[in-house]
Amino acid sequence: MNRIDQLFSNKPKEILNIYCTAGFPALNDTLTIMETLQQSGVDMIELGMPFSDPLADGPVIQESSTRAIANGMRVSVLFEQLKGFRDRISLPVILMGYMNPVLQFGVENFCQKCAETGVDGIILPDLPMDEFETEYRPIFEKYDLHLIFLVTPETSEARIRKIDAVSTGFVYAVSSSSTTGKDKDMGDQQAYFARLKEMKLKNPVLIGFGIKDKQTFAAACANSNGAIIGSAFVKAIENSTNLQSSIQSFVQGIKG
């Protein structure tokens, strides 16, 4: 059973998924951060594969990506770092990135490496659902990798149903019409979260974008299975002199 499915069957609510950019702040921090996240009680890890032109991301994740690339991070380096990580980390791990680096690495090669190292799911926000269905789905299935699609407040009900049908693992509900790390009022989004909940999708739902603290995490969890925090975490560690303690206090601040 895929670790993502296992997680949701054991713990259907208040899932805390933390995003960090691989190779940031320093190239070899990736594993240290993942291990500390696990020790701190996080439920899932989303690792960003840095891209030069991340269209869906706001300034914080853009900046971390630029730094990670300058540090020497690339898809092949990430898979080197992930070799043997399953000896140390049991949490579900998702890779998030943009299509072009994956395309250049080769989709099948990429999926194979994910399976070999122990990655559980992939988020590729600029991969069209149609193309996934016609070209890539069998590859993802072969390697037991979940592909997680996004929905937004502007996504029609019919399309949400379709996305839910094609997604495996969970559905990533973008909290508002925005790039990552924007401060938009969560209060306005409760109706949308509630609408998603009432749709009773086959997949669990995690809410992301704009989740940054205890309050926004709680607001997101009220109508979903949990939430994803990215920019706020990246900000918390970008100038950290002690990664472990920065991470622990950040996670404590969310979970209380």
Partner: protein, 401 residues
């Protein structure tokens, strides 16, 4: 105008899935799906409406000053021993072909009920053309421009501001056209309901490449009529145009794509030389990749990071190329040449002295290849003179010394 012509039979135009051969598509995050889908569903229908076409035609005639002349360049013809015509897009209002597209898209935006307009710009020509139509229609306009380009294209920044647009510096990445486009896309993600994004070239997710090509197709439509009148044949032997993203070339080639006897020549910016590390010759240096939501030829690292190009001309300084052009390159339908910064400068001086026309640096790249084509005296050659050189005077003065 023939912007709604049915192209479904053609192997060079976009297919019903939004692809040109293996290039094109819409690699957009879900946040943009409703907007792009709305455009895709409606653009052909809207531009087919007689009322739309009448308004488009009238504005092109009375506001832009079309048709733009097809000028027989006598002294240039003598020099290169062929019959050379210049399609004078430089004489359009705002000084380049860009306005053909912004007129079309602003009319489309109005019909979609959009209240605000965003655009990206490199040299500032598309930004000025967008700010112009926004002023004309009374719509709010935000233009993203790389902070480096803002410095090197100060007159166009001033023009945009005078026209009422807000110019926002793009400070991410390499701070040029690619990043201005990223920032415009991000703005659109954050304002999906009331805003239309006027992309300035035949790039971006489907349907933009086809939509922009259709609005620019007025260039080749006029060329056909004008050539028929002047030479008795609507088809020339050659059409030459510069290519960055490729909108003026798309317009100049559009009605000739299926006329295989017409040789299409696309000229890219070689910068300091194709292999110098400072070039924007995408067809030579790029491979299949995704930029700005379109699958196309792309200058990139082995790891798939997008590479920063170089050209003396800010309008050709783009690491990708429209998917139509990638397809024309791959099928061999168009011949792809490139001109260095120095060749472009020399061609600009030459045209100024031989014909009394100061061309934009972008257009000068197309002129620069007249010397490299195996022209025969009876050959009819049309060069798309996409813009005028006012904006480049500082560069020209600097290199005159």
């Amino acid at each position: 105008m023939d912007i709604a012509v049915n192209t479904s039979h053609s192997k060079y135009h976009v297919n019903d899935k939004g692809y040109y051969g293996r290039f094109g598509g819409a690699y957009i995050p879900e946040m943009l799906y409703p907007n792009v889908e709305e455009l895709k569903e409606q653009y052909l229908q809207i531009i087919s409406e007689p009322a739309f076409q009448a308004e488009f035609d009238q504005l092109l005639t009375d506001y832009v000053g079309r048709p733009s002349p097809l000028f027989f360049a006598k002294r240039l013809s003598e020099k290169y021993k062929a019959k050379i015509y210049l399609k004078r897009e430089d004489l359009n209002h705002t000084g380049a072909h860009k306005v053909n597209n912004t007129i079309g898209q602003i009319l489309l935006a109005q019909r979609l009920g959009k209240k605000k307009i965003i655009a990206e710009t490199g040299a500032g020509q598309h930004g000025v053309a967008t700010a112009t139509v926004c002023a004309l229609m009374g719509l709010e306009c935000v233009v993203y421009m790389g902070s480096i380009d803002i410095e090197r294209q100060a007159p166009n920044v001033a023009r945009m501001k005078m026209l009422g647009a807000t110019v926002v510096p793009a400070t991410s990445g390499s701070k040029t056209l690619k990043d201005a486009t990223n920032e415009a896309i991000r703005h659109w993600i954050n304002h999906p309901v009331d805003t239309h994004y006027i992309i300035g070239s035949v790039v971006g997710p489907h349907p933009y490449p086809d939509m922009v090509a259709r609005f620019q197709s007025v260039v080749s439509e006029e060329m056909r009529k004008q050539l028929l009148e002047k030479t008795g044949n609507a088809n020339p032997d050659y059409v030459i145009a510069c290519v960055g993203g490729g909108s003026n070339a798309a317009g100049a080639f559009f009605h000739y794509l299926d006329e295989e006897a017409v040789k299409l020549v696309a000229v890219e910016a070689a910068g300091k030389g194709v292999n110098s590390g400072f070039s924007a010759a995408t067809s030579q240096l790029g491979k299949m990749g995704i930029i700005h939501a379109s699958k196309t030829l792309l200058m990139q690292t082995e790891d798939g990071q997008i590479v920063e190009p170089h050209s003396i001309s800010a309008g050709l300084d783009y690491p990708g190329v429209g998917p139509l052009h990638a397809h024309l390159y791959e099928t061999g339908r168009a011949q792809f040449l490139n001109a260095t910064d120095d060749e472009a400068l020399a061609a600009a001086y030459e045209l100024s002295l031989l014909e009394g026309i100061i061309p934009a640096l972008e257009s000068a790249h197309a002129l620069a290849k007249l010397k490299d084509l195996p022209l025969k005296p009876e050959d009819v050659v049309v060069v798309c003179l996409s813009g005028r050189g006012d904006k480049d005077l500082e560069t020209y003065i600097k290199h005159l010394k």
